[in-house]
């Protein structure tokens, strides 16, 4: 196998498909925006209360929209038995996972690029000059969430209730990432650089561990 070739091909195919039908990403963005809206009704819309619920609203919308996306991006492969075609290709299963994982990461990041400014404006979140550090945290958390999400979409696809089961399996296991996202962001807002680095480290460790395990275990899940 020459390098990451097959993974890049699958990634490019997913990006091309998604660009041809932008409406699916747009629908996800609208859905995520609605989650942000619903969270505004949780407390009184005073500035202090908004700043408290804001990070939770942002991450919950990413979590929920992500679960919808993972299911959809994997279901694409099930249509017209495209997955069988991929499995027949003389390619290691690990590359299939790497390609799908990279695609899911990029789509989620595109969604977040829209969502973060909206949530920050609506909830008056102010990180001052720490937006760069927040972007790093966002990318690290998204990579880990996309790994788990892509993997469990494949797991849920082997059941008769994939749309129902994916969030049930995915959300409990994603708790460390959710906590790292919320707490890391709040540490940045409070100017606590040490706490931020702890949470970033936790998310990185999560990415390395579950990125490896999911890549290795993907073949076991996907084969007939």
């Amino acid at each position: 196998m020459s390098g990451l070739g097959p993974a890049v091909v699958i990634f490019a195919k997913d990006v091309r498909l998604e660009l041809r039908r932008v409406e699916s990403l747009a629908t996800m963005a609208v859905f995520a925006g609605l989650v942000v809206l619903i969270f505004a009704f949780v407390g009184d819309p005073t500035p202090a209360e908004l700043a408290r619920t804001g990070p939770g609203a942002l991450w919950a919308s990413i979590l929920f929209a992500g679960a919808l996306g993972f299911e959809r991006w994997f279901a694409e492969e099930e249509r017209n038995a495209a997955l069988d075609g991929l499995l027949l290709a003389p390619v290691d299963r690990e590359f299939l996972f790497l390609g799908k994982w990279a695609g899911a990461t990029v789509f989620l990041l595109a969604l977040e690029a829209l969502l973060v400014p909206v949530a920050a404006t609506l909830y008056r979140l102010d990180l001052g000059g720490a937006w760069g550090a927040f972007a790093v945290l966002l990318v690290v958390v998204t990579i880990g969430y996309a790994a788990l999400g892509t993997f469990f979409a494949a797991v849920a696809a082997r059941t008769t209730a994939s749309q129902l089961l994916l969030p049930v399996l995915l959300f409990p296991l994603s708790v460390p990432l959710l906590r790292a996202g919320i707490e890391g962001g709040q540490a940045l807002a409070a100017g606590a650089g040490g706490d931020y680095r702890d949470w970033l480290g936790l998310a990185l460790a999560f990415d390395v561990l579950f990125g490896t395990v999911c890549t290795m275990a993907f073949g076991t899940v996907i084969e007939e």
């Binding site: 059941t159 008769t160 906590r179 702890d198």
Partner: protein, 261 residues
């Protein structure tokens, strides 16, 4: 005939076969022994062990809560090991063990949560607090609930054991990270009084420690009995399915009672 096994695989297959039949044979004995020790445990808890000075009667739930929690964690470790063994050797028995251990672990986690809430109401003044250990245990309950749902919703015709094994392994690996991520939150739960490294058992008076250990033994016996019973049931059900398929294939259907195969 060689007395020693030719390979690891052969050693394992004779070992798990013999172990299984031995366990099925001693199952009724374990069951009755579990009933006896459980009665004895309740005798100790309600009549022998002294009343705790500050908490009074609610403290007695400790002798049920702590063994349940330990066994819940032990069963998920069991699911983890059985899942690895199943992926390694592809022996149906390990798949059945993993499934049954997850069911019983889910039961004991529920018991832990319920007894903890009953204790928390009089002592903390609330059924629930978002303490690190409570949160981890609740997430654990969701993870293995999802694991059991995955098995229940599996598409017919696929080897769900293989997929569930992977989920069982990933779920178990995630638990320490989840615990760490919620531990950095806040903690109200009483600190461990038994498993303390520099002073084992030192946090408890001797009579309470004895009661706890007796209770732990009787809960373990119940756990072992339930596990063997469930594995035996599942294995028998699978054998019945196999028999039915074979008879269908020969076109004879299930034999009537007394009729020869």
């Amino acid at each position: 005939m060689r007395w020693f096994p030719r390979s690891w695989r052969q050693l394992w297959s004779t070992l798990d076969g013999r172990l299984y039949h031995f366990l099925v044979d001693v199952r009724p004995w374990i069951g009755w022994f579990a009933v006896g020790t459980m009665v004895f445990t309740f005798g100790l808890v309600f009549w022998w062990v002294p009343l705790e000075a500050i908490q009074g009667y609610p403290q007695k739930i400790f002798y049920i809560h702590v063994p349940s929690a330990w066994l819940a964690y032990a069963s998920f470790a069991f699911v983890f090991v059985a899942s690895i063994l199943y992926l390694w050797q592809r022996s149906r028995l390990w798949d059945i063990f993993a499934r049954c251990a997850a069911e019983i672990g889910f039961l004991f986690t529920t018991l832990t949560l319920v007894t903890g809430m009953l204790w928390g109401r009089p002592i903390w003044g609330a059924f629930w607090t978002w303490d690190a250990r409570l949160t981890t245990t609740l997430i654990l309950w969701f993870i293995y609930g999802g694991y059991l749902l995955l098995r229940a919703f599996a598409r017919p015709g696929i080897d769900v054991g293989r997929i569930a094994a992977v989920v069982g392994i990933i779920g178990f690996l995630d638990v320490p990270i989840i615990h760490m991520s919620v531990l950095w939150w806040r903690t109200l739960h009483p600190a461990p009084v038994v498993m303390i490294l520099d002073d084992p058992g030192g946090g408890l008076p001797a009579s309470m420690l004895v009661t706890l250990l007796v209770s732990l033994s009787s809960f373990t016996l119940v756990f072992v009995y339930l596990l063997i019973q469930r594995v035996w049931q599942e294995r028998t059900a699978e054998n019945m399915d196999l028999l039915e398929t074979l008879l269908d294939r020969t076109g004879r259907g299930m034999p009537a009672k007394g009729e020869a195969l």
